[in-house]
């Protein structure tokens, strides 16, 4: 092997040291994934669990698992976002499984102060009706709402996360919207 000239040795070592500190592509991609999806994941989990304190833990757990398996992500099997929400879904369902063995809070009480008084009584009534309609949804329907409107996933991504076809996801989503509309109309 050709010997490195003495005058270049220090330079080479410095370059090598810098190269080690550079994050890998997976790290960079994960960092971006976190920044873009932190709030979405939290919103989805909170919507599914209806428990903000648990949502915080599950969100952290989701990113912990995703960070641990960030190199195992396969782009051929879907987008990185769908992969992340799949992890979040599993973590949330595990939490629900754990809760089945324990008596826990069913749902958080409605924060009345969340509705600004300046929006008026009509808006407040509409909001209340919508929340009541949301509360009446079955968990699977509520999950669809959380994925679509809270997390902002597209229909193909929802289909990938839940494990159903895209058409099926669209049909189910339309059915839920219809149900919510009917409930809101009746309340109005």
């Amino acid at each position: 092997m050709k010997a490195v000239p003495a005058r270049n040795r220090g330079v080479n070592e410095t370059v090598a040291a810098v190269a080690i500190e550079i994050p890998t592509d997976a790290d960079v991609a994960f960092d971006e994934l976190y920044r873009r999806n932190r709030d979405d994941v939290h919103a989805y989990v909170a919507g599914l669990l209806r428990d903000r304190s648990a949502a915080e833990d599950i969100t952290a757990l989701t990113f912990e698992r995703a960070y641990r398996r960030r190199r195992s992500f396969n782009p051929k099997r879907g987008t990185r976002r769908a992969w992340l929400f799949g992890i979040a879904r599993n973590a949330a369902l595990d939490e629900l499984r754990r809760r089945r063995r324990q008596a826990t809070l069913l749902a958080e009480p409605v924060d009345e102060a969340a509705i600004p008084p300046e929006q008026g009584a009509e808006v407040a009534i509409r909001r209340a009706a919508l929340r009541a309609a949301l509360a009446s949804l079955a968990p699977r329907e509520r999950e669809l709402v959380a994925l679509k409107f809270f997390a902002g996933l597209t229909n193909p991504e929802i289909a990938r996360v839940i494990g159903i076809s895209e058409t099926n996801a669209g049909t189910r989503l339309h059915r839920v919207i219809k149900k919510l509309r009917r409930a809101c109309d009746e309340a109005a």
Binding site: R97, R142, E143, T154
Partner: protein, 576 residues
């Protein structure tokens, strides 16, 4: 493996509405007739739970730390430590080499096993060595003797034994039976011929050698040289074929019957073994001490008899008497000579060991010289053969376990998936909408029976408690006058509104397994019933009427329905 479903196109109107929702969420204008839908979508979006600043800060701290495992997750922390320790290697690309390193290590292990099993390091070619010590009749193999002398305390220690030996691999238990590698070192069995001082052991050795055709003649000549060098002699020899100068000569074979002095046997066998590959070797020994002892006793007796006869002959006075003594003397002397001959033969049998040597010319045998490239190819072939065999056997042994592990992993995955779906179905908010409309709230303190949901399979005991498909057809109300016969003659009263909708049959029943149980539900009507003497009645959308009963919660009915042996009709129903 999932099968790809055949995608059916969405209804155009549904697709249009979904598209409008997407446009509304994206802030784009929608058609006027879908404005309400867009507004609903935006309102739903506004219901999105936002993380508080505190939660955001916590998550950001965790993100900055690389989402460390929680304190309770010991496995995760250990995994993280290992990952941190191996990070420099990963950064240098060592991770990519892991599969290759793993395969190489497996290959090295397999080769090591193959070499150890092939015996190349120990000499390779296997040979059969048989050591057959034999006791003379009358001497027990265990070491005692039944002979007439009675003063022998032990005889041959090792009964007949056959030892399979590889090239040079000496597996014989006796240190004297040291088998040479590739026939280069002698198998020394010298001690076998030298027993204790008072023992007489007769030995015999059969040796099979193989040589290459080119070395056959030299080996045959070498036998004679060895015999001469060790002061032995050839009893019989037969050498045929194997002449390298004659084309088409048949395969060479040589048979020798030799006599080697017992003291030279070890050295002679070593030299003979050097002449070619030792294919087989058989060593035998016979303890003939008894034969010596009896012959000597016979000689002593005959000598004494002869002396006595000679003495009598000197004292004989008559001619007849002298002739009689001389006749007896001749007989005794003949017997004495015969006894001396026996003793001499026995001595010779002990001192000159018969050795049978067979040499065959084998084209596959090497010359017994230095390790050549041919030997290397041969050994490599053996290593590969044994390695493949070891890998095959190992794979065959591990295959069932691997299949079981794969099945277990797949089963566990399926089980976890099912549990997750069940957890979602059983999540809060999954109770019947009719009860929610009636103001029912779930009481977490009330636990469901594990049999809830299995009522149809346990039909009979579950009569009327929670009407499902299997319980629809009821014989009648019995003595209990029906407060309201809901549908299909189901007396719904004891169930306390368990399933008034019966939505599963279009107008009625539902499949039990899919229907969520109402165990643990307490209706507001229960509370009203407590404060009111008149039972409240609820009518659901299907027209089914149920009466919540004070003090009898649905959970009690749920427990009652699985208890065989008493009628829920009579005990679960409260007095009116």
């Amino acid at each position: 493996m999932r099968l790809h479903e055949r995608e059916m196109p969405l209804d155009p109107e549904v697709e249009r509405e979904l598209d409008a929702i997407d446009r509304a969420l994206a802030g784009e204008p929608v058609d006027a007739d879908l404005a309400v839908l867009a507004e609903l979508a935006l309102e739903l979006r506004s219901e999105r739970p936002e993380p508080t600043a505190e939660i955001e800060a916590k998550l950001d701290v965790l993100a900055a730390a690389g989402f460390p495992p929680r304190a309770s997750d010991r496995l995760g922390r250990l995994r993280r430590r290992v990952a941190d320790a191996s990070r420099p290697l990963r950064e240098r690309g060592a991770r990519r080499l892991l599969p290759a390193l793993g395969a190489a290590s497996v290959f090295v292990v397999a080769i090591g096993i193959g070499i150890s099993q092939s015996g190349i390091l120990r000499g390779g070619e296997s040979a059969t060595q048989t050591v057959t010590p034999q006791a003379e009749p009358g001497v027990s193999a265990a070491g005692g003797t039944a002979g007439p002398s009675g003063n022998l305390t032990h005889a041959v220690r090792h009964p007949t034994s056959t030892i399979q030996s590889h090239r040079g691999a000496d597996t014989i238990s006796r240190p004297q039976a040291n088998f040479a590698r590739s026939g280069k070192r002698a198998a020394t069995l010298g001690d076998l011929s030298v027993g204790p001082n008072n023992r007489k052991v007769a030995q015999n050795v059969d040796l099979g050698l193989s040589t290459s055709p080119d070395d056959f003649r030299d080996a045959a000549d070498g036998v004679l040289d060895v015999v001469r060098a060790h002061r032995g002699f050839v009893v019989r020899s037969n050498v045929s074929g194997g002449d390298p100068g004659v084309s088409g000569a048949k395969q060479g074979r040589a048979d020798f019957t030799l006599r080697i002095p017992a003291g030279e046997l070890s050295a002679a066998m070593g030299d003979l073994s050097d002449l070619g590959h030792v294919v087989s070797r058989s060593d035998g020994s016979i303890d003939i001490t008894n034969r010596f002892v009896s012959t000597r006793k016979r000689i002593d007796a005959l000598t004494a008899a002869r002396d006595r006869l000679l003495q009598e002959l000197g004292q004989a006075v008559t001619l007849t008497e002298q002739q009689s003594i001389r006749a007896r003397l001749r007989i005794v002397q003949a017997q004495l000579a015969s006894a001396h001959d026996d003793l001499a033969r026995a001595q010779q049998r002990v001192q000159l060991v018969p050795v049978s040597v067979t040499i065959t010319a084998d084209s596959k045998a090497d010359s017994g010289g230095a390790w050549t490239i041919g030997d290397a190819f041969h050994d490599a072939g053996r290593v590969l053969t044994v390695t493949a065999g070891v890998a095959l056997v190992g794979g065959a042994a591990l295959l069932p376990f691997a299949l079981l592990a794969a099945l277990g992993a797949a089963g566990r995955r399926q089980w976890v998936r099912r549990q997750r779906n069940r957890a979602l179905d059983a999540a809060p908010g999954s109770s019947p909408s009719c009860l929610r409309d009636a103001g029912a709230v779930e009481d977490p303190a009330v636990r469901r029976s594990v049999l809830v949901g299995l009522e149809v399979r346990l039909a009979g005991a579950a009569d009327r408690a929670e009407p499902v498909v299997g319980n629809l057809v009821e014989g009648g109300a019995g003595r209990d006058a029906a407060v309201g016969i809901a549908l299909l003659r189901v007396v719904d009263e004891p169930a306390g509104g368990a399933d008034p909708q019966l939505s599963g049959l279009g107008f009625g029943g539902h499949p039990a397994a899919a229907y969520p149980s109402i165990g643990g539900m307490v209706t507001q009507a229960d509370e009203r019933r407590r404060s009111s003497p008149k039972p409240a009645r609820h009518r659901c959308s299907t027209g089914a009427v149920f009466v919540p009963q004070a003090g009898i919660r649905a959970t009690k009915a749920g427990r009652a329905r699985v208890g065989r042996g008493w009628s829920p009709k009579r005990r679960a129903a409260p007095p009116r």
